[in-house]
Symmetry: C2
Subunit: 122 residues, 2 copies
Amino acid sequence: MNYKSINFSEKYKLFNEQWKPKVISEINNYQFKIAKIQGEFIWHTHHETDEAFIVLNGEIKIEFRDGIVTIKKGEMFVVPAGVEHKPSSLNESQIMLIEPKGVVNTGENKTSNLTAENDVWI
Amino acid sequence: MNYKSINFSEKYKLFNEQWKPKVISEINNYQFKIAKIQGEFIWHTHHETDEAFIVLNGEIKIEFRDGIVTIKKGEMFVVPAGVEHKPSSLNESQIMLIEPKGVVNTGENKTSNLTAENDVWI
């Protein structure tokens, strides 16, 4: 067993690309993925699962068809399964996603140019 | 739907007791629980599930029978299922646990004086 903690800041130093979640840990069949995001993502839905967003640095927004939420550093929000949403971030933000293994970042749009490779560990 | 983010600092202001995890959110059948901890917990094991610790403030240690890990603010660690462990914190720390609903904080010791009521939301 590896008795070493995972440091979020150090993990963020390992990549620069935006909107490409990297797995840093997992519990059971759930993964912890960090990403740098800036600008607007696409509208998409995860029909099969809720999705947790934690903002570690910066401030993001998630738009819904009937509302919007702002999530700042030190805050989290859960997008329920089946709810269409569009994340965005004016400046670059650092986020962590918690969700089951295998979730495609663009939801039902599996061939968007923003669709990221899954299960990429750093 | 409630378009409001969950602010960790504000949630921590809502209680003072130590070692009593409070649920602040959930995804599917997993819960996000925050706790204030100080001193030494008891040795225990979660046979059925991994358990994720995120340190939001302070610094904690988790002792194992063959090692120890230090987890500081901005870091996380996952204790694998079936691994006996004993968390501790010299000064009061603020942590977040992520694990399936229904996990007893004292593991197989379900009647310890440190056993907390489950599924308590704040």
